[in-house]
């Protein structure tokens, strides 16, 4: 019975975190982009600094008519938005905020996170295919090509962190962390950041939803709350990737304050990476589709393999 209560409480807490953190990132993105691009729009709603912009967005989405096109594969079209949010929710559940502060702790939580994150992208593919729309289909194809290409460097550098720690559990990796990792794993962290931005299909890697070419890519036919769920999944993805990088490269809860305040460090570290991902969006223009593939295969994959070699040799040398 106690176990059951614990499971329910943990699930509800993960759900609460999932509903709060992505919205915080969304709000931050409005404000940061508003400031960086000198835009006045996001500063209007609600008076002070446009604090109510996100609420206004939510109300707008809920009031829009839900349209399922006649040409669409209706069942797949309706269910596609669910995959993204459920997958990122399951990914968020294993990210540790402290030695004993996590949703779920399983021995292979890193592998779990990577595997379940891959399922989330299926939602985008389903949306692209089921819409019965040429823009959506082209966007879906680009999504598929981009995600398989960038999944690879991402998995390789995650393996590098796992090798450095000798553990596949995020809690175990954070325990094994020491400050040398900041230099030792630096190339891996940079590859992770670039690949994660591409995996989230955010500029400069937003070819699948390129608005000037494909309207909104796989999401062209979506309206109202279903469309909003795709956006929620994108922001949840930023949260998951930022906090995963913080857990792998910056030692999660490690910091000068006592361990009971570890979650604060984790929030700060993850928040910094989320800010950087927003910043990247403002700073760089979109890549062309073939350039984007070259970056992955001829840039990130070799660097990730080099990082693997550095890590493995380092582990063997230091553990002798």
């Amino acid at each position: 019975m106690n176990d059951f209560v614990e499971i329910v409480i943990r699930s509800v807490c993960v759900l609460a975190a999932f509903l709060v953190l992505p919205l915080l990132v969304g709000q931050t993105e409005h404000k940061v982009m508003g400031h960086m691009q000198g835009r006045l729009g996001p500063m209007e709603a609600g008076g002070f600094h446009g604090w109510a912009q996100l609420i206004a967005d939510g109300v707008k989405f809920a009031q829009k008519e839900d349209i399922v096109p006649l040409a669409a594969d209706k069942r797949v079209f309706r269910i596609a938005p669910a995959l993204g949010i459920v997958a990122y929710l399951l990914a968020l559940a294993v990210i540790p905020f402290g030695p004993h502060f996590y949703g779920a702790n399983v021995p292979g939580s890193l592998v779990w996170l990577l595997a379940i994150g891959g399922i989330g992208t299926l939602g985008t593919l389903m949306a692209g295919w089921s819409s019965g729309n040429k823009y959506s289909l082209l966007g879906g194809m680009r999504t598929a090509a981009q995600l398989v290409s960038y999944e690879l460097p991402l998995i390789l550098v995650c393996a590098s962190f796992a090798i450095a720690a000798g553990s596949l559990s995020l809690v175990g990796i954070a325990h094994a962390w020491n400050p040398w990792w900041l230099i030792w794993q630096l190339p891996g962290a940079l590859v992770f950041l670039v690949a994660a931005t591409a995996e989230l299909q955010r500029p400069p890697f937003d070819m699948p939803v390129a608005d000037s070419e494909l309207v909104m890519g796989p999401f062209t036919e979506y309206t109202g709350l279903r469309f909003a769920l795709f956006l929620l999944a994108e922001y949840a993805g930023i949260v998951v990737m930022s906090f995963l990088l913080a857990a792998l490269w910056l030692g999660a809860w490690a910091g000068p304050l006592p361990d009971s305040l570890g979650w604060l460090w984790m929030l700060i570290k993850g928040g910094i990476f989320a800010f950087v991902i927003i910043w990247i969006r403002v700073a760089w223009p979109r890549l062309r589709e073939d350039q984007l593939q070259r970056v992955a295969w001829l840039g990130l994959v070799p660097i990730a393999l080099l990082q693997l070699a550095i890590t493995a040799v380092g582990v063997v040398v230091t553990s002798r």
Binding site: D3, I7, Q63, E65, L70, L89, V94, L152
Partner: protein, 129 residues
């Protein structure tokens, strides 16, 4: 965590919570959103022009090469994760390092071959696949 299974049960619970979230969102959409379907509204969107033929069309073959490359490297990555757990073992460490290096180099030669044959460059060659 009282037992090893609890973690997985929490993940199951989180999955249920996610399904409930989606269900609740869809119910609230049904309650809040207006409904006024019309033929023009339900037509496929093609920037205001009447749609030409169907939406499911053939697309470019190029993408499949990335899928092939990915499958090869994904198998490589599958072997990396268990390796992470045995690398510190004194009897296996150095030997597995050398073996893994040979394995990765073989795969890497494949990637270089693909790059040299122009599979990763588009449109500049006249005999492009």
């Amino acid at each position: 965590m009282s037992s090893g299974v609890t973690g997985y049960l929490v993940l199951l619970g989180v999955g249920v919570a996610g399904a409930v979230l989606f269900g609740a969102a869809m119910i609230s959409r049904r309650l809040l959103a207006p409904r006024a379907p019309g033929l023009a509204k339900l037509t496929t969107y093609e920037s205001g022009v009447d749609p030409v033929q169907g939406g499911w069309a053939q697309t470019h073959f190029r993408y499949i090469t990335y899928a092939f490359l990915y499958v090869i490297f994904a198998v490589d990555a599958v072997y990396l994760f268990p390796w992470a757990l045995v690398l510190r073992d004194h009897s296996l460490g150095v030997a597995s390092l050398v073996e893994m290096a040979i394995f990765v180099v073989v795969v890497l030669v494949g990637l270089l071959h693909a790059a040299r044959r122009g599979l990763l460059t588009w449109g500049t060659r006249s005999d492009d696949h």
